[in-house]
Symmetry: C2
Subunit: 332 residues, 2 copies
C-alpha cells in the first residue's frame, strides 16, 4: 500500500433553484457524499453562503468518517456559479436568478470554510466536468453547450478551459444566427438563445398553437398554453405529435446553425450538449447533426462528435472540482 | 559584444497572385532582403516550388552578404499558404486559386532548400504577424480577420496560434449571420463571406445600381458594372457618394455582426482586420465598432480593441517567420 494519502476536493454547483455539493478524490475516481438543497435565493446572499458552507462542512464530515480521511486531506473547494464572473476578484458580477450584483462569492466561502476556493461559471463547470468524467473524456478541444432557461457555453482548448480576456468567453447563446431575427432578452436580435432555449422552444410551440394547429399539446396543458414547457414538447414529440416534432426539428436547425459556426471557428473534436433539452434524444440530435453537416466545413465535421452529456445533475459539481484542480493545482 | 551569433528565419507568403519572401533575425527586429514575384500558378506546382526555392536562396545569399551571416545561421523557412492545410503531413489540401489538391508543399520546399520548413495557412500567418510585429502587439488573445476575395481568420489564445482538431479553426468567413440569407460559394446560406468579402461588397453595390439608384460609381466604371470592385466603392465613399457610403455602412453592419459573435465566443483583447477592406478606413471601422457594441456583451466589448492591421503586404511573410518559431522553436 502506498504511503501517499488520498487528497480530496469539494465541488459546489450553485444554481438558481438548487445547490449541489459533493467531494471527489483528487483523481476524480468517485463522487462522495453528494447532497442537494434548495438555493432559496430570496433569503439573501449571506443565507446562501451560509447554506453552502454548512453543506461543505457536512460533506467533509461524511467523507472524513467514511474514508478515514483527515481535515487536512481536503485541498479546497471548487464553486460553479451563474455568470458573468470576475475570477480575478472572485466576484459574481451579475446573476439575475440569484438577484446578485458584484457579490464576492469566492472569499465569502473561503472565510467560512477555511479552505482555498476557485470560482468558475456554471457552463464552464459543466463543460470541464463532461470532459473530465463524462461524454467528452479524452477529447483535446471541446465546446460545451448548456441549454436551459438560457444557453451557456464553455470552451476547452488543448485540455485547458479557455476564459478569454475578461472571463466572458463561451457566450454561445448570444451569438447571432439571424441578424434581423427574434428579439432576445439580452436586448439584441437573432441570438441563438432567442430560438433554442427552453422558454424559446415553448414560445415557438405556443405561437403555432395560437394559429389553431392540431396537436396533443393543447390537451397536455389543459388548454393553458402559458404552462407549456420544453419538456411537454419533447414528450409530445416522442409520442409522435406532428406539431411537437416540427418544433423539435426547428430547434435542431437553429442549434445546428449555431453549432456549425462553432465548428468553423473552433474546430473541436467534441461538442457536448447538456441540460434539459437533451431529453429530446435522437429526434433532436439526428437533424441537429444533419444541419451542422450542411453548414460546417467537411474536415471540421469529420473531426467532431456531437453528443449529449452523461453526468446529468452532477456535471456542475464534478466540473467545479475539475476547475479547482486546473486553476489551483495547474492541471486536471 | 556577445558571442551569440544572430540566427535568421526565412518567411514565405504564397498567394494566388504573388509570392513574398524575406528573412528576419530570430527576434523579428528587422525585415531583410524582402522580394516579391508573380506566382504564375498556371505553370504548375513544381514551377511554383522552384520559384520559391530560388527566392529563398537569393534571400539567404543577400543576407549572408549584407549581415556577414553564414548559411548555418539560417534556422529554417516558414511558409504561409492558402488553406485548408494538413500541417501534420505538410500538405495543402485544397487551394482553388493555385489549382492544387493534396500537394506536399512543406517537404517539396524542404528538399529544395535543405532547411526545415513549417507550414501554416495564410490567415493564421497574417494574424500571428500582426500580433508579433503589427497592430496586435502585446495582446494575449487575438482574432485576425483577412478580408479579400474571401474572408479568412486566425485565432491566438494565450499567445499561441490555435489550429483546432483538424487545422480548420478560424474559418470566420463561413460562419452564418443570416440562416436563410445570401447564397455563399461554399454551398451554404448566410455566411459572413457572402456579405462582406471584396466580391460580395461589389455585388451589393451592383444590385443597388441596377435598381437605378444615383451614384458616381456608374461613371467611375464607365457604366461597366461588372468592373466594380470594393476599391472603387471605398473611393466613392471617401468622395461622399451616398450609395457607396450606404454599401460601406452595410458592410460594417455585417462585419460587426460576425465580429460580435467572435467577441461573445472568444472574448479577445484585439480583433485585427487585414486586407484591402481596411482601405475604407473610419467610414467602415466606426459603424463596425458601433454594431459590435450593440451585439456583444459589455465586458467583451470593453476588453477589446478593433483595429486595422499595420504590416500590410508584409504581414504574411512576417507571420510565416513567427509560425516557424512557434511550431519549431516552441515560442515566439
Amino acid at each position: 500500500m502506498s504511503n501517499a494519502r488520498t487528497r480530496y476536493i469539494v465541488g459546489v454547483d450553485l444554481g438558481g433553484t438548487n445547490i449541489v455539493v459533493g467531494a471527489m478524490p483528487e483523481d476524480g475516481s468517485r463522487q462522495l457524499a453528494v447532497r442537494q438543497a434548495a438555493t432559496q435565493a430570496e433569503l439573501g446572499a449571506e443565507a446562501v453562503v451560509h447554506r453552502i458552507a454548512t453543506m461543505v462542512a457536512e460533506v467533509i464530515a461524511d467523507v472524513t468518517a467514511s474514508e478515514k480521511a483527515r481535515e487536512e486531506d481536503f485541498l479546497g473547494v471548487g464553486v460553479g456559479a451563474p455568470g458573468p464572473l470576475d475570477r480575478e476578484r472572485g466576484v459574481v458580477v451579475v446573476a439575475p436568478n440569484l438577484g446578485w450584483r458584484d457579490f464576492p462569492l469566492r472569499d465569502s466561502i473561503s472565510v467560512r470554510t477555511g479552505l482555498p476556493v476557485a470560482l468558475d461559471n456554471d457552463a464552464n463547470c459543466a463543460t470541464i466536468g463532461e470532459w473530465w468524467k463524462g461524454a467528452a473524456q479524452g477529447a483535446k478541444n471541446v465546446v460545451g453547450i448548456t441549454i436551459g432557461t438560457g444557453i451557456g457555453g464553455g470552451i476547452i482548448m488543448n485540455g485547458v478551459l479557455y476564459h478569454g480576456s475578461s472571463d466572458v468567453a463561451g457566450e454561445i447563446g448570444h451569438t447571432t444566427i439571424d441578424s434581423t431575427g427574434r428579439y432576445c432578452r439580452c436586448g439584441n436580435y437573432g441570438c441563438l438563445e432567442a430560438y433554442a432555449s427552453g422558454p424559446a422552444i415553448a414560445l415557438r410551440a405556443r405561437e403555432a398553437l395560437e394559429r389553431d394547429e392540431v396537436s396533443m399539446l393543447r390537451r397536455m396543458v389543459d388548454g393553458r398554453l402559458d404552462e407549456l414547457t420544453a419538456a411537454t414538447i419533447y414528450a409530445a414529440a416522442n409520442a409522435g405529435d406532428a406539431l411537437a416534432l416540427e418544433v423539435v426539428r426547428d430547434t435542431a436547425r437553429f442549434l445546428g446553425t449555431g453549432i456549425g459556426n462553432l465548428l468553423n471557428i473552433l474546430n473541436p473534436d467534441v461538442v457536448v450538449i447538456t441540460g434539459g433539452v437533451t431529453q429530446a434524444g435522437e429526434p433532436l440530435f439526428e437533424p441537429l447533426r444533419a444541419e451542422v453537416k450542411r453548414r460546417a466545413f467537411r474536415p471540421a465535421v469529420d473531426a467532431c462528435r456531437i453528443v449529449a452529456g452523461t453526468l446529468r445533475s452532477s456535471a456542475g459539481m464534478v466540473g467545479a472540482v475539475a476547475t479547482f484542480k486546473q486553476q489551483r493545482l495547474g492541471a486536471v
